[in-house]
């Protein structure tokens, strides 16, 4: 561009040249041209100055300085992320020029607890460790709050939590079983400082690291927020349904952690009232399809039955030890002068004993037996078990699965009470339910029949509507409909009389209209027979059942040996040919 060319008249182009000039982005020729114009045109000079002054005013923008702990919390966040997502280090990773991430994590976490242990152990080291002492004191005082900080930090106040719980958006059964996000079970019950100190010191290293991280997380919050969290904890404790509220908070925190980051920012920036609505929307969008939920329920119940059957076999193999552990069983044997205990009674006795003693010992649960069980479980539960470490930990996962599956069969009121029970009492209820006579239709039918009714008796439209409901509501509606279906009830009663045991899928009574090949014994199968040709309905055996006192006669055949039972052999028998497809009845509503 040179002076012989006409000056730029287009205002936009002129503005571009001015801004580029101020930013030093013009070529030498363009700069010269513009400066010549500036020299001769006062209005152009004024225009340029106004651009410059507006630009300079941007220096008035408020600036933000990072908080003191920004770097530390950022590095820790990344270290935790690295620990969660990265595979074991390669040889190259071992050759590092700086600190590897696992050491960063350990350093951040252990420094607090190390200080704690040192202070607790040796009073003379208190000098010069004021910060550590204060942190330790806070840990002792606020232990229940710190233990749950990862849950509480997402909750505004008790009203928000109450609304969250009332919304029913979160399935809290699993959370309540696992004690929410608490690393120290019953931490709020450890009232005395000496108790808390002892418990903390006895924690394994992994748990200490977790607690140290939580302590740091709590300590980074402003004092006002810490106080709010304390008040929230006290408010929750004062509620009758504290267990449910805690489970809701934990389920919410867990769900929030799985929500994509942008959505989480969006949710957390909303006022509490709007957030409930937004959570509702987000939750429904993320909800798995209804058929998947039903399949999940069915899978859990199947896993429960598989575990109990396996437990019976395991207990039978160690009958002598199991009986030795159970005084009640021994007395019953003596009273009835029997030589053998039925498998169900043995499984219940063993389960009670392992829960009472807190570990699967005596008889010892070995890895080989456990692997055999795990192979017969659903792939989802297999993964959970295999992710656990020791045999005891794997057994804990199975125990949680049993409780979770049983909770699916409870009504809302029953579940509310059940959540407040100890693990031992919950398992006792579960065993009682297993021993109870099958419910007749006056009380609503068992799960096998419910699923069969759902699959065979409903139209596609009815199923589609019902599948939108929560699982418990589905069960409730199915029971109600089955009450009015006399023909179905009669068939189910007949089937139950012949195949009264948990485990297999609901009976086959026609082609599967919806998904996959059907499983399970058909209604019209003949009753299974013993080796000698006698029907298992023949009660002429001398077994002792734990249920006898309740008037519930065992239908189990005597075992000829310690190998497979007739029920196991029946499982391997090829199914007889199917009956003609059952005509679909119109639904009765």
């Amino acid at each position: 561009m040179n002076s012989s060319q006409p000056p730029i008249s287009d205002p936009d182009k002129l503005s571009e040249q001015i801004v580029a000039y101020l930013d030093g982005e013009l070529s030498a020729g363009e700069r010269r041209e513009l400066e010549e114009r500036l020299a001769r045109d006062p209005k152009f000079r004024e225009q340029l100055n106004s651009y410059r002054r507006a630009w300079d005013l941007l220096d008035e923008l408020p600036t933000t300085t990072a908080g003191e702990r920004f770097v530390a919390s950022t590095v820790e966040m990344v270290a935790v992320n690295a620990a969660r997502t990265e595979t074991p280090s390669s040889p190259r990773d071992l050759i590092l020029r700086g600190r590897p991430w696992n050491i960063v994590l350990l350093g951040l976490g252990m420094s607090l607890l190390l200080g704690y242990v040192v202070v607790a152990a040796t009073a003379s080291l208190l000098a010069g460790t004021e910060t550590t002492t204060a942190a330790n004191e806070q840990l002792l005082v606020d232990l229940p709050v710190i233990d749950r900080v990862e849950t509480y930090q997402h909750i505004d106040d008790i009203d928000f939590l109450r609304r969250l719980a009332d919304s029913g958006l979160f399935d809290t059964s699993a959370e309540s079983l696992m004690g929410g996000s608490s690393a120290i079970a019953g931490s709020d019950l450890l009232l005395a400082e000496s108790e808390r100190r002892t418990v903390i010191e006895s924690l394994p290293d992994d748990a200490k690291r977790v607690l140290a991280r939580k302590r740091q997380l709590f300590g980074e919050k402003p004092a006002e927020r810490q106080q709010q969290i304390r008040e929230l904890h006290r408010a929750i404790e004062a509620q009758d349904d504290a267990g449910i509220l805690l489970a809701t908070a934990a389920a919410y925190a867990r769900w929030l952690g799985e929500v994509e980051w942008e959505r989480r920012v969006e949710l957390m920036s909303l006022p509490a009232g709007d957030r409930i609505t937004a959570i509702h929307d987000a939750h429904n969008q993320a909800r798995p399809a209804a058929p998947q939920r039903l399949t999940d329920m069915h899978r859990q119940l199947e896993d429960m039955h598989t575990i109990m059957r396996w437990l019976g076999r395991f207990a039978s193999e160690h009958e002598q030890q199991v009986v030795k552990n159970d005084l009640r069983l021994r007395r019953r044997l003596e009273k009835t002068d029997s030589e053998r205990v039925d498998r169900r009674a043995l499984s219940h006795s063993l389960l009670r004993y392992w829960i009472r003693t807190g570990k699967p010992k005596n008889p010892d649960l070995d890895q080989m037996s456990l692997d055999k069980l795990v192979r017969s479980l659903s792939s989802e539960l297999q993964k959970q078990v295999q992710a656990a470490g020791t045999v005891s930990e794997q057994w804990s996962v199975l125990l949680a699965a049993l409780q979770s599956a049983h909770s699916l069969t409870l009504s809302s009121e029953q579940l509310r009470e059940w959540r407040n029970l100890s693990v031992a009492k919950r398992m006792e209820e579960m065993l009682q339910a297993e021993r109870r006579p099958p419910k007749r239709y006056s009380s609503g039918g068992n799960k096998r029949e419910l699923w069969r009714y759902f699959d065979q008796r409903l139209t596609d439209e009815e199923r589609a509507e019902m599948e939108k409901l929560p699982p418990k509501e589905i069960l409730r509606q199915l029971r109600r409909r089955m009450q009015n279906d006399e023909k179905f009830k009669q068939e189910a009663d007949e089937s139950r009389d012949r195949f009264d045991r948990p485990g297999k899928d609901f009976p086959d009574a026609g082609p599967d209209r919806r998904r996959g090949p059907r499983r399970g014994p058909p209604f019209n199968r003949p009753p299974p027979r013993r080796r000698g040709g006698e029907s298992i309905d023949d009660n002429s055996n001398k077994q002792v059942s734990a249920d006898d006192e309740e008037g519930y006669a065992s239908r189990r055949p005597p075992r000829p040996d310690r190998g497979e039972s007739p029920s196991d052999k029946r499982d391997r028998r090829p199914p007889p040919s199917k009956s003609a497809p059952r005509e679909r009845k119109p639904s009765k509503d």
Partner: protein
């Protein structure tokens, strides 16, 4: 004579942040920490002004650094480290703004009232029209006015202004961050600065008292 593009080796040699990032790629936690220390305030301020949310600035910045870490394996020193860093920051801010816009977070009427009181943007407009009586502004009011003026820009204008003004980036580097051409950046900045000038002009008119609000 056209300048050739610097090679990756040259970036690594001349840019200490590139060297640090390469160490992060190799698993060095201290190198990562150094980068966070060097850029924390710049990233936080950028996120603050890009989103208009000072309360979310630190969280957003941590997300930026987390993404830097996660992308370390793919990091190649073919550009300045700041170009790469601010590209990530721009994406994070853009996502956050979209999330907030879905919930109508960007609502000036809902803004916590500052020295300018409620509906400050309306007052800015009135002030620019000269319809309001004049009085002297104090520093906090001025700060709020400038902040409002920035927030009146669209997302891309705001990003370009921030990178040009506070990061001192040239058009070519800004174009690389924003994945466009230097000419497009020139036009973008021109429009942005014209908009800023229009809004802020009443506050620096020589010989005239700034209008009251």
């Amino acid at each position: 004579m056209a300048l050739r593009e610097p090679s990756a080796l040259e970036h690594e040699t001349h840019d200490p942040d590139v060297r640090l990032m390469l160490q992060v790629r190799d698993g060095d936690a201290m190198a990562f920490e150094s980068l966070v220390v060097r850029y924390q305030n710049r990233v936080i301020n950028l996120m603050r002004h890009l989103t208009g949310r000072s309360d979310l600035a630190e969280d957003l910045s941590q997300e930026v650094f987390l993404r830097v870490y996660r992308a370390r394996e793919n990091y190649k020193p073919g550009a300045k480290f700041t170009t790469w860093l601010f590209t990530i920051a721009g994406n994070v801010a853009s996502n956050a703004r979209r999330s907030m816009a879905r919930r109508r977070e960007v609502n000036l009427e809902g803004r916590e009232s500052g020295p300018l009181g409620g509906s400050p943007l309306e007052q800015l407009v009135l002030a620019a029209s000269g319809q309001m009586p004049a009085r002297q502004l104090d520093k906090s009011e001025m700060r709020q006015i400038v902040q409002l003026a920035i927030e009146a820009l669209n997302e891309r204008q705001r990003m370009a202004v921030m990178l040009s003004k506070f990061e001192g980036m040239c058009y070519e580097d800004i174009a690389e961050v924003m994945e466009t051409s230097p000419q497009a950046i020139k036009s973008l900045l021109s429009r942005a600065r014209a908009a800023l000038r229009e809004v802020l002009q009443p506050y620096f008119r020589e010989g005239a008292r700034p209008p009251a609000l």
